[in-house]
Symmetry: C2
Subunit: 503 residues, 2 copies
Amino acid sequence: MTTHLQRLQQHLHQTRLLGSISSTIYYDQNTSMPAAGAPWRGEQLALLAGQLHTRQTSSEYAELLDAAETELGAEATQEQRRNLQLLQLELKRQRCLDPQLVSAITQAQSRGNAIWQAARARNDFSAFAPALKELIELRRQQASQLASAESIARSPWEILAQPFEPDVSKARLNQLFTPLKRELPVLLERAAARPQSPPSAQLSENSQNKLCAKLLQSWGYNESCCQHARSAHPFSCTLGPQDFRITTRVVPGQPLSAFLATAHEWGHSLYEQGLPRSGDHYFPWPLGDATSMGVHESQSLFWECRVARSKEFAGRWHPHFCAELGSDPWNGSTGFWRSLNPLQPGLIRVEADELSYCLHIVLRFELELALIEQELPVEELPQHWNQRLHELLGIKPANDSEGCLQDIHWAEGLFGYFPSYALGHLISAQLAEAMENALGGDGAIATAISAGQESTLLQWLNQNVYPLGRSVNSEELVEKVSGYPLSADPFLRYLNQKCGSDV
Amino acid sequence: MTTHLQRLQQHLHQTRLLGSISSTIYYDQNTSMPAAGAPWRGEQLALLAGQLHTRQTSSEYAELLDAAETELGAEATQEQRRNLQLLQLELKRQRCLDPQLVSAITQAQSRGNAIWQAARARNDFSAFAPALKELIELRRQQASQLASAESIARSPWEILAQPFEPDVSKARLNQLFTPLKRELPVLLERAAARPQSPPSAQLSENSQNKLCAKLLQSWGYNESCCQHARSAHPFSCTLGPQDFRITTRVVPGQPLSAFLATAHEWGHSLYEQGLPRSGDHYFPWPLGDATSMGVHESQSLFWECRVARSKEFAGRWHPHFCAELGSDPWNGSTGFWRSLNPLQPGLIRVEADELSYCLHIVLRFELELALIEQELPVEELPQHWNQRLHELLGIKPANDSEGCLQDIHWAEGLFGYFPSYALGHLISAQLAEAMENALGGDGAIATAISAGQESTLLQWLNQNVYPLGRSVNSEELVEKVSGYPLSADPFLRYLNQKCGSDV
């Protein structure tokens, strides 16, 4: 006889099939679909989204979940309990939302995106302000409806951040960000005195593709379960338990952009490839999922920053880049390493390096709180943005397009997401220290990279980080692996060393 | 108020969305998916197939169809009547099938395919025979269940052929094939005396891709609604009303294969792109569909054979091929043209040229009839295949792998499909004569090709053939466009001229 638990697993399996169909056509949209296919693709995605929402909120599903819980009773293993708990929480969240609000948010997001595109192109914040106001208001309503699903008291912003970073709080973020606000500007000032990186070289698309393929090969790319394609914006996605895709793109005039993006997206993919896939960690159970956006980002940043931007890696890859170019515009591997690490403040978040990136996040985190919880008038956003950016990074945007209009997140009402990017840096650094200790102490990672033995690093992650899935949240994961609570110290130690190592 | 007709259109719209989602993930499977993704992809496709089947056979849909018919009553336009008629026929067919039989066929197909792959690899027909027997038996049952949906009496084979070639009959095929059986062997004998085509050249993958892209550009490829990718077997598909894909592949040692496959698949796609898309010909209505496999094939064959294998085309493209090679292995454009037209009988259908192709089809048509309707024991298939092939083409296969095990169709129980390939040749030739007359008479097509004016040919097809959609069946289409019933004469005239033009 089929148990309720088995039936629940079948239900989740089918939900995951539908979700992965949606991901597959999204992937096609961004890698293959001709432009004129967009309206029809939009309808296909909306149809699947509707089916998924119905499956995930139906009373049949709710009853199945309850029945499985009752059936297991006291017999439930810790893993089963955690799976059911996470599913119940998600269901509770979905079901306490008014469907009219969900639909209003979807429409406002799509409108917000379109208005933002035009406003950014015309550099006209006032055109975007009403849409942003509406999105803030709708998200506040959403947070208020979601409050009843929370087991502890959370502020509206905290509620909105839960899907990205489970159990995150403002107080904890302030605690983690305070040393960053204090130390990073000092490091930036120190870095300003270092020799400038040489002017950028022109590297053909073909050469960049060759170098990216070489990188993936050396980092365990297996074409039987992976696929690398081109898209306008790099991303990584999982389309089935054995089907992993990453995409990158070549930016004219930026010889290192595709290479670093490949390292970054491959880091995301390695985490997904290493997630547990059997028993209670079976693909469609929550335990088989990534635990948070912050942890996901930590894995991409480890390979992009800690490995690919390291001196040892620069030393190994400098000859390959020179061979493709037929010359050495960097005057040696130190110049090449400097090109990989500009260490100079800039206006644009997605182009920021490790020293200034987290300050861009602090800015957004503070302004989101002001907008969502502290009644900051939307009209005043640009002036606050510019002033605070100047305090944090010492620079001012010439206009709002390179200021508060630069990111897509708010245009889609995505509040609560930004801090995960900064957490990714902190988590990556703390896990890397744990890795270093485990692999033999000071310099062990650098030694492995020098020797082209990144497989040692991957093996450690595959044994100590990836298999945890969602059995722990991000803070628990860090403490479990490193032995102490998440802190900004390892990240700052790492940056201090990086800045100090330049001559 | 929403009318029943509008609700019906919404239903069809959503069905088409689902169908095109399925096509999109099938496309991804064949162009991008890593091999290990196959089992999950199979489950995704099965899930969508189940959803589609439910939508297409539900009582709600049946009632909606009846309600729309009643609502329109005598007011219905001819187009509306035809749409409803075609939908009712399809529904009737789906609903008179026992779901258990449908499921048994699906399973037998998948089993048959696997057994056939192994049997073909080991050249062991006896291993495949039991699976083929089962498929024949299941298809006979299917034909018997489907008989009640037919408005006129049809034999089992004819019933199975209806989905591919609506209204086709054995008598009509015999009538059309008789002159082919008489004339083609004579032409083959004449062609045997012509100068041999020179040995094949090695053309790099990059060069082949360049030439294919150049061909597509010159034939109106528009990247805003088309996408060209690589796959193991070339195919063409439509993923949305403005989203057309074709795939080809480079075969090592065959410099013309990808080029001709591109011409062929692009011909399929041009037909799809030219189908009517508004009013009663709206995308999800039957009238917006291709009318038969034979007509579809006629459009791919027109561009592949009539255009790309013509002397004029060879004259224009010979320099491009030589430029890519840096030499002329064909000793001039006549040699190049001969390479495009081997005109020699071979064992393999998919490699056959215009002279022998239809004889391969005659062989399969006769044997299908014998298996389905005349109690030919499956065990005797190889001996009948070999004997009849020798009568038709004067050659004998060394083993069953290059004989009756070569095609996938029977391995999946696909009976009734093969004749459409031959009909494609006949239809293409008859429509081409009509085109020639309309464009100025004898030699008009050749003149257009010489001048690089294939757009003239496309324009004529876009005005006279493509917009008909499914408003007529294939025979009606041919008669409407050419002024007289489908006949083998234009095809034989065309081949006579082709054979006679060689020196």
